[in-house]
Amino acid sequence: MKTILIAFGLVLVAACVAKAQPNTACAVAQHLATADFRLPHVAAAIAAKRLNISVIGSASSSPSLAATSGANKGYPARLESLLGQKLPGVVVTVTTHAKARETAANMETQFIRVLAADKPALVIWQTGTVEALRRSDVDDFRSVLEDGIGVLHHGNSDVILMNMQYSPRTELVTDPTQYADAMRIVAMQQEIPLFDRLAIMRHWGELGTFDFNEVTKTIDTAAQVHDCIARLLAHQIVEGANLPNSVGNAIR
């Protein structure tokens, strides 16, 4: 009898684990997506029940995900729906501004326009990919980041920097480390959160959560990865909004 009960209990646990799979799979990297600095404008927007977020980045895999019939499976669309669930009563809008092979410098020129059009409380600036692929000058990249963050702060928006994807094959040609380091240092100095997509995806690869060496033409893995990115990002944003004032309260 006891054995049967234990066996039953184990089956139950296994079933729960299996059902919770998508969430727990992403969550193994949760510790890498902590909000190190406060997001005051997001907090104010949540209080006012209306949260506008702009995602500005080079296209990466988003367009192919967005182009599929039916639901948009890129992380910005997933972020919008996840934040809507996490923040009941708040109207969440996520607007994407993505172009293929866009450098940080090109993106920066659009900031004023995006700020005016979207009135975002938060801009997620996804960059570094094109610079790493082209091996652009790191100092130039760094100063573009600093200037851009200044423009966004001046436009009363919080900023989260998102670095490049972990892409094991391209690391054979070019090492993204110095660009990722530049983003880390700038985020630290400007006291804004960094969404360390590189480290998070690398961690998933190490643990076998995702196989980034899979050869495929379908977008299934890509859609799952984007869903996971959206989950961690939503977690980071809400945490950043809830941080007490004493943490990383940059004078702006």
């Binding site: 895999s61 995900l65 652009s136 094991p168 040609v173 980034f212 033409k217």
Partner: protein
């Protein structure tokens, strides 16, 4: 004025790096300083581990705990041993002969680099043609250079196109190519030579000079800046270390060095835990950042000096563990540095390939890392064995400086 032969107790580390009987006969007073081999061997392992992209084992390497990394150790010791080997040649045979030997060595390193590049191209061509995944649609654009082999190959021969992790050998080639005049000068007026090297370093920083790269940008390791460390190594080998003897024994200097290492460790930790970055005063972070690896930032140089100072202080020349079997593998690797370095670059490619094609999991990363180091040790052992049996046969030794230079 020629530099007097160094006395054993006076220098940081001063043995001829080659165990060849000829050198041993020429310098009977010197026993080989195993510390050089040990630390160069360890540096070679660390460079190998750091060169496997996204390798979890690279967390143990020193770059994660302070400003400088294994490259500094490698360049310094290479300068040190090059000065030792070619300095002797220059004293005995003059500028022309020694200069020719240095250039010959640079040529060997160049050939080794191109050989590695060919292996790299084979791997990258295979990888790029066998891969497809919409997740990486944008990133795959990086393989576009394969469509223009004419340009890519010529740029590689000119040392302008250097893929990730193939930056150290080109640096070494340029450093060796310019080494003979410096060596000539350091043998006559060591202080002037070192000051000249520092002046080049300062000018490089002031005017932001660097060599061009293809398709864009500049060299990842700027030879005009990194020459300072190479020159400093050479200067130490040829009597400079003796001049610094007082500093090595000063407790004040030791305390400063330890404090600096602790400071550097704390700063590096804020990179991993940004929340604590707010404890770093703004003026300090504005002064420090960016810490420039390309141009050998002063903070990195100082970190290396602090490490070296503490090492010399606590690992004496006659440290008994240097003879122990535990350190033997690292010493063996350090004694065949060019070969083991090249093997390490190749093994890093291979490890990356295995991680991609077989498994990217933690266990696989640890396995390929350990296996790679084991292969490096095995190869070094075979080379040491071969050198030993060659040496036992009189009159069969190489007639030029290859063996000696082989360590430089």
């Amino acid at each position: 004025m020629l530099v007097k032969p160094l006395k054993q107790e006076e220098v940081l580390a001063s043995a001829p790096p080659a165990p060849g009987p000829r050198l041993a006969a020429a310098a009977p007073a010197h026993e080989r300083d195993l510390r050089l081999d040990l630390f160069r061997g360890i540096a070679l392992w660390l460079i190998f581990l750091d060169h496997i992209p996204s390798n979890v084992v690279s967390w143990i390497t020193i770059r994660n705990y302070g400003f400088s990394d294994a490259t500094e150790i490698f360049v310094f010791i290479s300068g040190y041993t090059a000065a030792f080997v070619y300095g002797r040649a220059m004293r005995e045979r003059g500028l022309i002969v020694a200069g020719a030997r240095v250039l010959k060595r640079a040529w060997q390193v160049y050939v080794a680099h191109i050989f590695l590049f060919v292996i790299y191209m084979a791997e990258i061509s295979y990888v790029s043609s066998s891969f497809e995944n919409p997740l990486f649609a944008e990133e795959m654009g990086i393989f576009d250079f394969l469509r223009q082999p004419d340009v890519t190959l010529v740029q590689a021969l000119l040392l302008k196109f250097k893929p990730a992790n193939m930056d150290v050998l080109p640096l070494y080639i340029v450093l060796l190519a310019g080494f003979a005049p410096f060596l000539w000068l350091v043998l006559r007026w060591p202080t002037v030579a070192l000051a000249g090297s520092a002046a080049v370093y300062i000018l490089t920083w002031t005017f932001a000079i660097n060599l061009p790269s293809y398709p864009s940008g500049t060299w990842f390791f700027n030879p005009l800046a990194w020459q300072l460390l190479f020159a400093f190594g050479a200067w130490c080998a040829l009597g400079g270390a003796r001049k610094l003897g007082g500093l090595f024994n000063s407790n004040v200097v030791l305390a400063i060095a330890i404090s600096y290492l602790v400071f550097s460790f704390a700063i590096v930790m804020t990179w991993y835990f940004p929340r604590y970055a707010s404890y770093v005063p703004r003026w300090l972070s504005e002064f420090m950042y960016p810490i420039d690896k390309t141009n050998l930032d002063v903070l990195r140089f100082a970190h290396f000096l602090a490490l070296a100072l503490i090492t010399v202080r606590f690992v004496p020349r006659d440290w008994p563990y240097l003879k122990s079997f535990l350190l033997r593998p690292a010493i063996l690797c350090g004694q065949h540095s060019l070969e083991i370095f090249c093997l390490g670059v190749f093994l890093a490619f291979a490890a990356h390939f295995v991680i991609e094609q077989v498994s990217a999991r933690l266990a696989a990363q640890v396995a390929v890392s350990l296996l790679g180091v084991a292969i490096m040790v095995a190869a070094a052992s075979v080379m040491a064995w071969y050198k030993r049996i060659e040496g036992q046969c009189p009159g069969r030794r190489p007639t030029d400086a290859d063996l000696a230079g082989g360590e430089a």
